[in-house]
């Protein structure tokens, strides 16, 4: 699997991953604001999937029709739809695309549900890898507290109730999230995650995020005022293997 840069796309994709409640959405929002204020071509993918796929997915969830395999497939369908209709065209047009969650969310979740890892990875092999992936690593208890304090009504699949881990949704959610965290940690090296200490202050994390983005991506190239350059002509950054700065 290759990154968008390695595939000579003019655009770049930055993804954030982490457990619910790890603060990743806050961080990517602040990154987006920073990039926008510099007048760069930024698109924040809010996952506007088509009505059709959305309708099937929500029906499956509401009526609890999904098995690990169909859960995985319907989410892959949804992802493919967004990937082909939004992400690829934007990246071809030279945008900085920010994604709150990417394929790693599916890898972690589906494998935790019992799908074979190679099969799930194969499903998503049509998608290129992000140019930067920030993984917000928080203490499990901290993330759980953030979610469970604020939003007491857990949905069936969200809590991993289909896995029969516990009859109590909260307990089920705890175990489920714990297993997903293990999957994330196991993927970290393989996919060059930029591991962020999500227990730090918001500002401190954001400073590191902005610093890494500026170092790794030639941001000037994404200025709105400038004409888009020929895709293959300039490689904005060279990512050495093993170069994995951990804050």
């Amino acid at each position: 699997m290759k990154t968008f840069a390695e595939l000579n796309f003019p655009g770049r994709l930055i993804a954030v991953e982490g457990l619910d409640g790890s603060g990743k959405s806050t961080q990517i929002y602040l990154l987006k604001r920073w990039l926008e204020l510099q007048d760069l071509k930024v698109y924040f993918s809010e996952w506007n999937s088509s009505e059709l796929v959305k309708s099937a997915t929500s029906k499956g969830k509401k009526r609890e029709l999904l098995t690990p395999t169909t859960f995985s497939l319907i989410h892959a369908t949804d992802f493919a739809d967004r990937y082909e209709r939004h992400l690829v065209p934007l990246l071809r047009a030279g945008y900085l695309v920010l994604c709150d969650r990417y394929i790693f969310t599916a890898f972690g979740r589906d494998v935790t549900r019992g799908c074979p890892p190679e099969w799930v990875r194969g499903l998503y092999s049509f998608a290129a890898l992000p140019d930067l992936t920030f993984f917000f690593k928080s203490d499990l208890e901290v993330s759980l507290k953030r979610i469970l304090d604020g939003r007491p009504q857990l949905k069936y699949f969200e809590a991993g109730m289909d896995l029969r881990l516990s009859t109590d949704p909260y307990e089920s959610f705890r175990i489920f999230q714990g297993r997903i965290l293990e999957q994330y940690l196991a993927m970290s090296t393989e996919f060059n995650f930029l591991v962020m200490d999500a227990n730090q202050l918001v500002e401190k994390q954001q400073a590191i995020v902005r610093d890494l983005v500026a170092k790794r991506i030639d941001l000037a190239r994404f200025h709105r005022a400038k004409q888009p350059r020929v895709p293959a002509s300039s490689s904005p950054r060279r990512k050495g293997k093993g170069e994995e700065p951990v804050p």
């Binding site: 059709l52 169909t70 497939l73 319907i74 369908t77 739809d81 499903l123």
Partner: protein, 243 residues
């Protein structure tokens, strides 16, 4: 069965089962006592007629049957139909949508029915889905991984009918050609008839390629329905006896 004097009910022979790839997590293949029979072929190849005749024959000979087919899942069939009508989904998305439809039926109908000892008759299976995608340039390795969830059937019949004959049958039935069965999305020709011929020819070539990996039984579908059905029965009889 000693006391069943005039009754000639054949108890199906158990044969080893496997998934094509990783399969469905948590399924005990040993428990799948029934038989899975697949009939493949283009629209107009006589699939539905043959399946109807087979169901009658099966039930007459004491076997419980269940039928499955493409776009029949509870989960996504409606949405899939709409997607096709509007031609709004791109290739990978449509492909995964169809795979979802297949997997839903596999887990909720095919596997439970086989477990209960039913004969499952499938009006098309993963091969049509794979062939359609391959013709549209999707990666074969990707498709094989995707459909690694599928159970290997006991027998797969491919009803082979030449495109020239398919056209005639299509006109006799509907007086028109179907957009997708003509491969109009591929832009092979703006002329629908030309496109149909080209598309069906390519599909048949793709099926022949798939046959090498999946070992279909190719049946000459150019003959009358009764003759074709007699051949299918004979072959199914062998499968039921476990030979």
């Amino acid at each position: 069965m000693k006391n069943a004097i005039k009754n000639q009910i054949v108890v199906p022979h158990r044969s080893p089962r496997r998934f094509y790839g990783h399969g469905i997590p948590g399924v005990d293949l040993e428990q799948l006592a029934g038989k899975l029979i697949v009939v493949e072929g283009s629209d107009g190849s006589g699939r539905s007629t043959q399946i109807k005749l087979l169901v009658e024959w099966m039930e007459g000979t004491g076997h419980a049957t269940v039928q499955v087919g493409l776009k029949r899942s509870t989960l996504v069939s409606e949405e899939l139909e709409q997607a096709q009508q509007g031609n709004i989904l791109s290739r990978t998305t449509l492909s995964l949508f169809y795979a979802t439809d297949f997997a839903d039926q596999l887990e909720n109908i095919i596997l439970p029915a086989l477990k209960a000892g039913f004969v499952v008759l499938a009006d098309r299976y993963i091969y049509t889905l794979m062939a359609r995608d391959m013709v549209r340039g999707m990666d074969e390795g990707w498709l094989k991984n995707l459909y690694g969830v599928a159970l290997e059937p006991d027998v797969v019949f491919y009803l082979n009918v030449l495109p020239e004959e398919l056209v005639q049958r299509s006109f006799a039935k509907n007086a028109s050609l179907d957009y997708w069965e003509s491969g109009m999305d591929l832009g092979l020709s703006r002329d629908m008839f030309d496109s149909f011929m080209k598309y069906q020819t390519t599909m048949q070539a793709t099926f022949r390629r798939l046959q090498a990996s999946y070992g279909f039984t190719i049946v000459n579908g150019m003959r009358s329905g009764e003759v074709v059905n007699a051949e299918l029965r004979k072959k199914i009889g062998v499968v039921m006896a476990g030979k």
